[in-house]
Symmetry: C2
């Protein structure tokens, strides 16, 4: 096990009706900016519950944060927060809105060009507005971590940043808010957490027995309940479990003391920035190909994954590894996430463009051993055609 430091100060308020608790966790004298996306929170009752909980606090609103939140949009929000002397941000939505709110929290306190935050990956954040979230779309885990991904379409960039100052102070997870989500979003909510776990688990063994078993617990739970959460749209139990899996997949805990990969995410970000695939769609495409191309390096963990997560115990080692990867593909397909570039009408003509973008974003030494060079990424993309 590698040395680690772990601290996660976010308070989780979980369950039906917990939006009302906002009244107790945002300071009574806060000047709040409520940040949301396309307005679905007005259709599903969340907006009204938030208004009630905020009571007579002064509230400014900023609507229109996009999926894959746009840098320019977020800069406008930060300007608005400054203009209104906002002291507390409240995000209501999914990972995009919460990621965006993290950037707004930092940018509102930042001197100079806020793009510098992205270029430094957040290491230059010295101050941020406090914020909380009401999660309505479980998937990214942003509700209980300090990371964020921001898009800048004009230069086709989608980049991550993070800071210890960017943990939500609280996040409300009410599973009933997911009942009205489109199926596509629930698909993302199964695939994205699954791949988050895999990026922290499927590397090489370091004797971290508990972290391995906890990662396997999240994967097994997503396999057991993900398809049911899709089938039964207003089943509290399945939606609650999906929501908690998504949070636990990326709150730092299962990644303590183990190597981490994240190459699937970095390649996937370019696919989103260039061709508009949903984040989870990119993961479903890139992950199986990535595992196949790098199976020699990941051999021991792939065997463990095949056995413990998928119950595969027969065949040669190579056969078991391939069966585990096939099971992963079939799971993604079963929940509605195609696993090939061709399923999105993308062919080998896109590979050069994607590699150029990776290079321009310094994504040239990816993976747990920093050996996923542009050549390896090319091979992965070819295997994903």
């Amino acid at each position: 096990m590698k040395n680690f430091s772990f601290k996660n100060p976010t308070q989780i308020l979980f369950g039906e009706g917990q939006i009302a608790e906002i009244a107790n966790v945002i300071p009574a004298d806060a000047r709040v900016m409520l940040i949301y996306g396309g307005g679905s929170i007005k259709g599903n009752g969340v907006y009204g519950q938030i208004q009630t909980a905020l009571g007579d606090r002064i509230v400014t609103e900023f609507a229109g944060v996009e999926a894959n939140p746009e840098f320019t949009t977020l800069c406008r929000a930060a300007d608005k927060a400054r203009e209104h002397n906002v002291t507390y941000l409240l995000a209501a939505g999914g990972g995009s809105v919460i990621d965006g709110t993290k950037f707004i929290a930092a940018a509102a306190c930042f001197e100079g060009d806020p793009w510098e935050i992205m270029l430094k990956g957040g290491r230059n954040i010295e101050q941020a507005l406090p914020f909380g979230s009401v999660l309505t779309l479980p998937a990214t885990g942003s509700e209980m971590n300090s990371g964020s991904v921001v898009n800048r379409s004009e230069i086709k960039a989608k980049l991550p940043f993070g800071s210890p100052l960017c943990y939500p102070q609280f996040s409300v997870l009410d599973p009933t808010t997911t009942y009205t989500l489109p199926t596509r979003q629930i698909i993302n909510g199964v695939v994205d957490p699954f791949v988050h776990v895999v990026e922290q688990y499927l590397t090489y063994p370091v004797g971290a027995d508990l972290q391995d078993r906890m990662a396997e617990a999240v994967l097994s739970s997503l396999i057991a309940t993900g398809p049911k959460a899709l089938e039964f749209r207003d089943n509290y139990e399945y939606r609650a479990n999906l929501m908690w899996c998504a949070t636990m997949a990326l709150n730092g805990l299962i990644g303590c003391g183990v190597p981490q990969d994240w190459s699937t995410h970095m390649i996937g970000h370019e696919l989103t920035a260039l061709y508009g695939l949903d984040h989870a769609q990119t993961l479903a495409v890139v992950l199986p190909a990535n595992l196949r191309i790098r199976k020699a390096d990941k051999r021991e963990k792939l065997l463990q994954y095949a056995e413990r997560v998928w119950g595969i115990t027969t065949g040669t080692e190579d056969e078991r590894i391939e069966q585990g990867i096939v099971a992963t593909e079939q799971f993604f397909q079963k929940v509605g996430a195609p696993t090939r570039l061709r399923d999105y009408q993308l062919g080998d003509e896109v590979i050069g463009t994607i590699i150029k973008q990776l290079e321009s974003h310094q994504m040239v030494k990816l993976g747990e051993k920093r050996d996923v060079t542009p050549e390896v990424s090319t091979a992965i993309l070819r295997a994903a055609l």
Copy 2:
């Protein structure tokens, strides 16, 4: 899944050499009181590493916190902290020292008789000194939670308290500090976390699939690595895993949104207070009997436990339940924790005394359904003879 609120702000500094990090997490101008037990930290190098890390901070020491920390000892420590205007406490030791430090942190700021803290279970704590810990004896999980148990021998009382103000700000977990522990303490370090998990897991199903699987992950990891941690006393990997299992068993996470039992602990506390058994020894004695007596109420989870944790899939349901309990007993015995009262020269003459103590501490409605009355506790103790 039940509604829950979860927040755990403790920073974990995990790994060899991490004691040096104390220099960065205790304020440079803090007046520190270093709290420890019998002085084993002076023999194993921990004391020296702490001194180096504390540098030129003003340090007062309080040595002599006992196993099952004594109320009167802790009150003396609180007095000393006040006399020296201490601003930060640093516990170095196991669960007893850290539990004791939590009480000292609260008592040093408490107006009135500090026994009131125990009588109110900590609900009257309005202020506490900040504190951190260097864990040298993994078992209780106190290093990453806000609970504590304090002993008062003069009245044969061992009572719990807790407060959100009693989370350690940080805890250093360096597995190499466990290399010099006596075997008995490592036995406790396997059994205590195991039963902590069982108290939060073996109740009745509430559809908390992920919490169940995470609890099973900790149990399976203790089963896989606990005996090896005992066999190989300076194997970093096994000791590291044992240490992290102990922390994860009781940092609140696996207990989120599920019913909890804790009757084994409450009955066990009386055994320690009256007859001096180690905490973990009491658990090894009480748990199997408790599961047998209450197997009707715990039926579904006992079947799940037998199958998922012990791989028991054949036989009638009753047989599988009994096999799971037998496997638990055999595991405790294998790691060196006897599972019967007679193993400690205690016979049925003690049962009446234990029940009287439970009654005098209002422990008359224990368990996840509050139905473990003195009559049920009597049956459990009889089954443990």
